[in-house]
């Protein structure tokens, strides 16, 4: 209780109705957003990966931790949640790990209690690790073509700094219970955490519960963000079916990133069965436009663009990019996702920065965004 009071007294709270962000003294961030029309409360705990960079030796330990962690100490977390119509989902990204619990109105306590359970130091045996690796082998097998294309594009652009968060099954075989415990401890340092609660909740009450939970955790050493390498354009082939182009972009709030995203969405709207992948990040990254049902189309479409196409694509791209961000902000899951993802990378980061960049995008910036997909500036990725 003492830690809660300390946290609340010294918290730098900013209210931008109906949303309250709280910076806890231990470095954790809590954001609560009231969305009274929503049927679901989304509680998402985000842990930045800045303290646990992937290395060839530990490549995939984070992902393995995610699998083992979400079973809970008694291995019955899913059953307990589903019994009440609630669900847990976890994902490992390059920048962070996400643990999402979706509950109905008036079930916030259940979500927080579950998260508390999950953050106990993990107890796991070698046998359990080995069993989970057999499941992850199957997960890797169903890794879809879009993910394979994306992974290859990251390899080409950023080399070892962009390795896929899925991990390397061979490296993961060397994981021990102790190594998993170490990764958990470092990944969940309080200053790495952002807890976002969105949905039909009372802001003050939810903030109190949330800050008591993450604000009370012991602190650790602040790990500075490291600037990653510049991206390298080029061509790469990979296992899988399909093809794509990846624009090399800066941080999520950079106007050039917004332009590349809008350009990719506009190109994709012209090619049936195509996809666009972008995970907002404070670091350099990729905006990928591709397709997995055919082996040609996206690259051709980009290379054959004429100046006469630009005005129409500008309208579509700007609309789609704006809608993409706004759509995230319309559901409790979307809000908790995008705000949590950004907040765990920096307590000042907000999706509105990205939205502003899209809204203020000029025609010339958009055209430059289209050019960022050109062969000599982008990564061309081709399935074989």
């Amino acid at each position: 209780m003492l830690s809660l009071i300390a946290c609340l007294l010294s918290a730098q709270a900013t209210l931008d109705a109906p949303r309250l962000k709280t910076l806890c003294p231990n470095g954790a961030v809590v954001l609560v957003e009231r969305m009274p029309r929503e049927q679901t409360i989304s509680v998402q705990l985000w842990a930045s990966a800045r303290s646990v960079p992937e290395t060839p030796e530990t490549h995939g330990f984070r992902h393995l931790l995610e699998h083992l962690l979400v079973k809970g100490p008694s291995k019955d977390v899913d059953k307990k949640l589903e019994l009440k119509g609630c669900f847990l989902r976890a994902r490992t990204f390059r920048d962070a790990m996400q643990i999402e619990i979706s509950v109905g109105p008036r079930q916030l306590d259940l979500a927080i209690d579950t998260l508390k359970e999950l953050l106990h130091p993990i107890e796991v045996t070698q046998e359990e690790i080995d069993h989970e690796l057999s499941v992850m082998k199957e997960e890797f097998a169903i890794y879809d073509d879009a993910a394979r294309l994306s992974s290859a594009a990251w390899d080409q652009a950023y080399g070892s700094a962009g390795i896929d968060p899925f991990g390397d099954l061979e490296a993961m075989k060397k994981a021990t219970p102790q190594a998993i415990r170490d990764i958990q401890r470092k990944h969940f340092y309080p200053e790495n955490l952002a807890l976002v609660i969105a949905g039909p909740i009372d802001i003050d009450q939810a903030t109190k519960i949330a800050t008591e939970f993450v604000g009370g955790k012991q602190g650790a050493v602040k790990v500075p963000d490291e600037k990653g390498p510049d991206g390298k354009p080029g061509r790469i082939e990979t296992e899988g079916f399909g093809e794509g182009r990846a624009a090399i972009v800066g941080g999520f709030d950079n106007p050039k990133t917004a332009a590349s995203l809008a350009a990719s969405l506009a190109v994709a709207s012209d090619v049936e069965g195509s996809f666009v992948t972008y995970t907002p990040s404070a670091q350099r990254g990729l905006v990928i436009v591709g397709q997995t049902e055919r082996t040609a189309g996206i690259g051709l479409r980009v290379d054959e663009l004429k100046e006469g196409d630009y005005p129409r694509l500008f309208e579509i791209g700007r609309y789609l990019a704006r809608s993409w961000v706004e759509r995230q902000l319309q559901t409790s899951e979307g809000v908790a996702y995008i705000r949590g993802l950004l907040l765990c990378q920096g307590s000042g980061f907000r999706p509105e920065q990205m939205l502003d960049a899209v809204k203020q995008m000029t025609y010339d910036q958009f055209v430059a965004g289209l050019h960022s997909l050109a062969k000599d500036r982008a990564v061309t990725v081709v399935g074989r």
């Binding site: 049927q39 059953k79 119509g85 609630c86 979706s102 199957e138 169903i142 069965g273």
Partner: protein, 397 residues
């Protein structure tokens, strides 16, 4: 959203149009559902080509005009086909609702199937590679049919008729406007007599293997209809078997046997009802027949251990899926995904359920019926489903 939306929809429902007003949306979803009868193998192949060629120039609108309207919200008109329906989806800006409905109406009322467009679609369907999941769900290959112009004209006359079409509209519009516009479309629609289709008796082909390194096997239960007395019991049993991470399928195929990362229960529409299906994906293609039988045995054993907790869990998931749009629903009413809760799927479900059952889609009523199902009845339904299931295998390449 769906409950409030449908409460409003009840006020604005005609025989063939369901309006769901949602002033908070900045676009309008128009979903037209075309009922399909049971078709022969040959007719099915031809209809797939026709569905893929629907969005072309019509006598009233050029394709460019349709695309121009679509570009106001950045979405193209989309067409998908299932065993029991064709779905045409069009998203338009609120000020374009009437034009959008006219265009959807034109595409269905007066489609022009040229040899070139049918040939292009046929080539696309042959060379396009869908993911393993979609291939397995469909379960049959696309077989380019041989056909005459007369076959096309007759199939068109049988399928594209006003009485086969139900339209759902969701978003911001003036109440009654979509219904009035659709009535106008119907008034211009003169489909003529229903021809008797030629049946060439060609046997259906099955999918010999997936174009993927992955293999899938499934237990497919007997088809049942929404008007069956046991509908809610069977659907609840399907939730208990294969939805969520504490369901039997997850427990057995993933946790106990370590065979698979993806395993799901599916409620699959057929022209005569719905087929319950349990699908398991795996990287190993050896012995999948044997594994299918082992799965059946293990699942039957697991069902025997079900308690009241399993019933409550299934009910909890069903409620979350049907009222909060949670993604674990087995309602696979689309070629490769379940129905969720957004404007497009809300409009689709409103139209689809009306078309399929003659009654409005009322999730709360179905949930109420599910709530009355006892654990023993749910177990019996699951056991019956598993015992009567046929094993289908789709080995990887």
């Amino acid at each position: 959203m769906i409950l409030t939306a449908l409460a409003a929809a009840a006020m604005f429902q005609t025989n063939h149009v369901v309006e769901i007003l949602d002033p908070t949306m900045d676009a309008v979803d128009i979903e037209a559902v075309v009922r399909l009868p049971e078709l022969t193998w040959h007719q099915r192949g031809l209809l797939e080509e026709m569905a893929g060629s629907l969005v072309q120039d019509t006598p009233t609108f050029s394709r460019n005009q349709i695309e121009e309207l679509a570009s106001h919200v950045g979405q193209r008109m989309r067409v998908s086909i299932m065993e029991d329906h064709i779905r045409v989806s069009f998203v338009v800006a609120p000020q374009d609702v009437e034009s959008g409905i006219s265009m959807v109406g034109s595409v269905l009322r007066e489609p022009v199937f040229t040899e070139d467009s049918l040939k292009a679609t046929s080539e696309d369907l042959q060379f396009r590679r869908f993911g393993y999941w979609r291939q397995a769900l469909k379960g049959v290959p696309f077989d380019p049919p041989k056909y005459t112009r007369r076959d096309v004209a007759e199939l068109k006359a049988v399928i594209f008729r006003p009485e086969n079409v139900t339209v759902g509209v969701c978003g911001k519009f003036v109440s009654g406007q979509p219904s009035a516009k659709w009535a106008e479309v119907e008034s211009q629609w003169q489909p003529g007599r229903i021809p008797r289709l030629y049946d060439d008796q060609a046997p259906a082909k099955s999918l010999a293997k997936l174009e993927s390194s992955l293999s899938v096997f499934e237990l497919r239960g007997p088809v049942f209809t929404a008007t069956d007395a046991g509908f809610s019991t069977k659907v609840l049993a399907l939730f208990a078997l294969g939805s969520g991470k504490a369901g039997s399928l997850f427990r057995v195929a993933r946790e106990k046997l370590g065979w698979s990362y993806r395993q799901e229960s599916v409620l699959w529409p057929t022209p005569t009802g719905f087929a319950p299906r349990l699908l398991v994906v795996q990287s190993d293609k050896t012995d999948i027949d044997k594994r299918g039988e082992t799965l059946r045995t293990e699942l039957l054993a697991d069902v025997k251990t079900w308690t009241e907790q399993d019933r409550l869990r299934a009910l909890g998931i069903a409620q979350a899926c049907m009222t909060r749009g949670v993604e674990y629903s087995p309602f696979y009413f689309h070629p490769d995904r379940t129905i969720s809760s957004n404007g497009a799927d809300d409009a689709f479900m409103a139209a689809y359920w009306q078309m399929k059952t003659g009654s409005p889609w009322a999730p709360s009523r179905l949930l109420g019926q599910m709530g009355l199902v006892t654990t023993e009845d749910m177990k019996a339904a699951a056991q019956e489903m598993l015992a009567a299931s046929i094993l289908k295998t789709y080995p990887g390449s």
